[in-house]
Amino acid sequence: MDNLGTIGTTEEQIELLDVATNFCRDKSPVDKVRGLIDDDLGYDPGIWKEIGELGWLAIAIPEAHDGVGLSMAEVVPIAEQMGRNLMSTPFGSTTLAAQALLAGGSEAQQAQWLPKIAAGTAATLALREENGDWDLSNIDVTGAVSGDTVTLSGKKQLVQWAASVDLIIASVKIDDMVRFALIERSALADGALRRETVIDETTRSYEVTLDGVTVSTDALFDADRTRETLEKIELAAGLIHAAEMTGGAQAVIDYTLEYLKTRKQFGKIIGSYQALKHPTVNNYVEYEKARTHLYSAAHSWGEQGRGEVAVLMAAAQAHSSYATAADRSIQFHGGFGFTHDCDAQLHRRKAIMGGALIGDAAYQRSKLANLLFD
């Protein structure tokens, strides 16, 4: 099979891994993560500012648009360490919006937005709808064109960080074709955002009512770029979520190990019991496979054929290993595992959210099968 790639790293990637490992660990201790659960904004604006200053939002943006000119490969270690420390900010949604602009935006649209994003302006994608379908092209929100104005109608769901962004890139149907519209959040009516109650309490998610919102036809991506944009969004989202979930899997395994090494029952440290040790080893093996796939997907980013296969493998393995490790972490913590105070639930919930947003492991595998066997 020639669509199976290999693994490798870049110097910049490893430097970023180093910096991000320390930054995320120092800035996102778990008591802070828990403090933000009850905070409206859901993240620390000071940290968001630092992330902008570190240039992390500029990494995969070309130098011509004030970016660093690297690729998603170098974003991977950052997203991984954020996931590992449950650090919540609009980093992922903003990175994905930039990738969408790079795939589908006109020169003018890119010039208008990419430098702002590179400098720290938050953005997000509005893709999901009432039908609950992971297929990005199955949408009902419409845009009616009249002259050079497009009037939108319908609702988007699970729009991450919508209250904190300047730019929302929404998929809409115009003349029965999927198109992408750039919507400035300031153009939304009062009350257009409803904060959703989502399983992952560390993120912020909104239903966005687009009824009556108008944008200029200049704010649409070219119809010819729709397919490319959809593909790029799926790939980039798969990679970022794989990174976050792989980091999360590592964290929840470490968290479980900590308990298995200190908790005593029947006079013994419980980690000495094979009933707990062996499944923990199995989960660790699955995590290491996920990390191998993650850095393989980063390495293969941009390679036709191999890139898609590698990302789907990484996303499937990350989701399944994260979900299982977190599930077992709840169980192995016994009674404490049943409480909100146990961090296992933070991870279990986050893994469900990751699957909901981009498609769970089985969905990733079904897409992968088409590439491998057909």
Partner: protein, 404 residues
């Protein structure tokens, strides 16, 4: 020539090796060739593989980087690696004398006396002297350190009593690397063990063949009844048996002694299973149209690719910082369990044909898949069961407290 070869030198050598293996490799001698040294069942198989190893050695492609004075080629190990690649490229048969070349040889080269090196190394390379291993005992499979075979010093001899099991090539071997107990009052079970290079063809040592779950032979149980061996056979000194045994395991990684070359086990080519799946039918439709089979096969592809890439990643310290021993320690567990699952899965492709076995004309691929599945347990059980491997990973990579 002992130095690192230039690119041009290595290229010349590789071309020579390629040409030699292309010309001399026999892939189908008319009977089934064993995939591992543990599966040598018939005289025909044994004779063929012994001849093959001697031929490769005489051509200079085995032991090429072992010291010249003891029968090796004295070359830089890059040469041997090139020769081994040529063997793989032309799908050459395995090297028969696995315990000699992979275990005893490196130990003797590392710690043996001049006399031992002169005596043992060359005939081991040429497969004239076949070696076997006597570590496991019937009552002490996973708990090697508890070996009970008794070795009692009597004048210039040791007298051996007890039994060893799972001795591959035990009925053909001239020598055995033997773990025996010389001190039953030692402060701990490990300290009472000693290591011997024992002759096999002597009075008091008998073997009995073990019929495997596949219906074939390949292992023996070895019985020691007042067998006398010279005290010169003791290796590493009394009480050092455990550390000698552990050293033999280290040589597999090629750290201290240059690898002898060749391979003792042919890895199943997992892509063959994918091909079988792609060409199989269920209810008259392609098997991989069945959503359950399709999803399972996809998951296995993810696993296969992960393990292949793990082998690259384990040599990338920049991606191994948190638990450097994790990937090396889990490799045996993950790989052998995957092969067991995959070979079992391959039976599900076969419909009614899954009922046939080796020897029936209706069997798919002559029963290769059934045999592979049943044989896959040799790797999930031998060399430390998967359950022991999970203890090792849990304790040494994850820092969990010892079981027991």
């Amino acid at each position: 020539m002992a130095g690192k070869p230039s690119a041009a030198e290595l290229k010349d050598y590789t071309e020579q090796a390629d040409a030699w293996f292309k010309e001399n490799t026999v892939r189908d001698p008319g009977f089934m060739l064993p995939l591992t040294f543990m599966e040598v069942s018939t005289d025909q198989q044994f004779d063929f593989l012994r001849d093959w190893q001697r031929k490769v050695y005489e051509a200079g492609y085995l032991g090429a980087s072992w010291p010249k004075e003891y029968g090796g080629g004295g070359l830089h190990s890059d040469y041997q690696r090139a020769a081994t690649r040529a063997m793989k490229k032309y799908d050459a048969p395995i090297m028969l004398n696995a315990i000699g070349n992979g275990w005893a040889g490196p130990l003797i080269l590392d710690l043996g006396t001049e006399e031992q090196k002169q005596k043992y190394i060359k005939p081991m390379l040429s497969a004239e002297d076949i070696w076997c291993q006597g570590f496991s005992e019937p009552e002490n499979g996973s708990d090697l350190g508890n070996a009970q075979l008794k070795a009692v010093k009597d004048g210039d001899d040791y007298v051996l009593n007890g039994s060893k099991i799972w001795t591959s090539l035990g009925d053909r071997a001239k020598y055995m690397i033997l773990l025996a107990r010389t001190d039953f009052d030692a402060p701990n079970k490990y300290a009472g063990l000693s290591f011997f290079l024992s002759p096999m063809k002597i009075d008091g040592i008998t073997t009995s063949r073990i019929k495997k779950l596949t219906g074939e032979y390949g292992f023996v149980q070895t019985f020691f009844t007042d067998a006398r061996i010279s005290a010169d056979c003791l290796f590493g000194g009394e009480g050092n048996g455990w550390s000698m045994a552990m050293k033999t395991l280290e040589y597999e990684r090629g750290a201290k002694v240059k690898p002898v070359g060749g391979f003792f086990v042919k890895e199943l080519d997992v892509m063959e299973i994918v091909e079988l799946a792609k060409t199989s039918l269920r209810n008259g439709k392609p098997l991989l149209d069945d959503p359950v089979m399709r999803d399972k096969m996809t998951q296995y592809m993810i696993d296969i690719q992960a393990l292949n890439l793990n082998n690259i990643r384990r040599r990338m310290p920049q991606l191994m910082q948190d638990r450097p021993m994790g990937l090396p320690l889990m490799n045996k567990l993950a790989r052998t369990e995957l092969i067991r699952e995959l070979t079992e899965f391959s039976l599900a492709f076969q419909g009614t044909k899954a009922g046939y076995y080796v020897g029936d004309e209706n069997a798919v691929d002559d029963g290769y898949w059934h045999r592979s599945y049943l044989n896959s347990f040799s790797a999930t059980i031998g060399g430390g069961t998967s359950e022991i491997q999970r203890n090792i990973v849990g304790e040494h990579a994850l820092g969990l407290p010892k079981t027991r």
